[in-house]
């Protein structure tokens, strides 16, 4: 039971008390007041009355009674620091203050809940005294993702579309990064074609020997294409340098067969373990295993 009990009953009494305090202040000669002053005075009066009641109650209990009498109240008044004989004088001087009748406070009802949808009735095995089902939107689940289609037609279509888009993207990339020719003269963006670069000696590619290692190919089938492609790209990118190298190779070929040695040295410098000539020891092992 504190003075700040937040029940409606206490709030109504506190409001009446604050009105009375404001009337007393006006009676004393004030024309206006700040809200905090009225609040403070209301709190003081509240605790004053409660203290009054407690002390007079304890005075009555001290004399063995349950109901306080006038003497108990008089003792309490004098204990609170005021004289009871002054009260009569005060009451004679008191001017009559009219407090307008307060309007009645009506309790505010809880707002009606919004009902959506129709509530499900109880199944036959559920007794009637159990609560009704809540609104259906509170428990109904709806899938929020699209169902994946796994039919053969759709998969094939998707794969073809993907492949085509990849090819187109690659073609566009090469056409933009290297020289391109146009199918329709005038509009360079429409149907760009990869420019054809004719080499000076087209037959040299067919004549030049290419190192093929059977064991390497068989063991590293997956790696080979990856390793071969960068070299080809390099030659394509650096066309000027590639041509120079070709010229040098041709010159070497004409003079003597030193190119394989050069290639060997390069390979040695790059990676010794991948050199097929250094892997002689492995061959018999492979045969033994087979």
């Amino acid at each position: 039971m504190t003075s700040t009990a937040s029940s409606k009953h206490a709030a109504a009494h506190r409001r009446a008390l604050s009105v009375a305090v404001a009337a007393l202040c006006r009676d004393a000669g004030f024309d206006s007041s700040t809200e905090s002053c009225i609040e403070t005075l209301t709190e003081i009066v509240q605790s004053y009355i409660i203290e009054f009641g407690r002390s007079s109650k304890s005075f009555s209990e001290l004399t063995g009674r349950t109901m306080p009498m006038v003497t108990d109240v008089a003792m309490a008044v004098s204990q609170m620091g005021s004289d009871i004989s002054n009260l009569r004088e005060y009451q004679r001087k008191l001017s009559r203050v009219k407090i307008p009748k307060q309007e009645m406070m009506y309790p505010t009802g809880t707002p009606a809940t919004l009902e959506t949808g129709q509530r499900k009735k109880h199944p036959s095995y559920v007794p009637d005294y159990l609560p009704v089902f809540p609104d259906p939107h509170t428990y109904i689940k709806t899938a929020t993702f699209k169902k994946l289609e796994n039919t053969y037609k759709v998969v094939r279509t998707n794969a073809a579309t993907q492949q085509r888009s990849v090819e187109r993207a690659l073609t566009n990339f090469i056409a933009k990064t290297t020289d391109s020719q146009t199918l329709f003269p005038g509009d360079s963006n429409l149907f760009p074609l990869i420019a054809c670069t004719p080499s000076a000696r087209p037959y040299s590619d067919a004549l030049l020997p290419i190192d093929h290692d059977v064991a390497k190919e068989s063991s590293q089938v997956n790696r080979d294409p990856v390793e071969q492609h960068p070299s080809s790209h390099d030659s394509g990118d650096r066309s000027g340098i590639g041509q120079n190298e070709d010229d040098a190779k041709n010159a070497d070929l004409s003079s003597s067969g030193e190119t394989p040695d050069k290639n060997k040295r390069k390979v040695d410098a790059v990676d010794v373990s991948s050199n097929p000539y250094m892997m002689k020891v492995r061959k018999p092992k492979l045969k033994k295993k087979r």
């Binding site: 007393l24 004393a28 004030f30 206006s32 007041s33 009355i49 306080p68 005021s82 002054n86 203050v97």
Partner: protein, 103 residues
């Protein structure tokens, strides 16, 4: 006591008896005599009136009086503020400290 025998007590109560009775009941005070409640009500009323009078004296001494808006009248308007009220309350032995965050 001669106080209870006089019939004056029913007149001029500003704090309603019902309100006083409610707060007395909260303290465990229960009586069948309505005059006792009136005495308590009157005592509380006097207490507040004394405090308000003291605050008014403080306000007058300060001289911070707002004159009336209408120039014809010579009325002086007094406003009860927390400064005057806390000064008056400290005379009665009550220390009021306003919290700094309280507007």
């Amino acid at each position: 006591m001669c106080l209870s025998s006089t019939g004056l007590l029913a007149v001029g109560l500003i704090i309603p008896e019902a309100v006083t009775g409610y707060y007395l009941n909260r303290a465990g005070f229960e009586t069948a005599d309505p005059r006792l409640v009136r005495v308590v009500s009157l005592a509380a009323q006097k207490f507040i009136s004394d405090i308000a009078n003291d605050a008014l004296q403080h306000c007058r001494m300060k001289g911070s009086v707002q004159t009336a808006r209408r120039p014809g009248k010579q009325d002086k308007r007094y406003t009860l503020t927390m400064d005057d009220l806390s000064a008056a309350l400290s005379d009665h032995g009550i220390n009021v400290k306003k919290p700094v965050y309280f507007t």
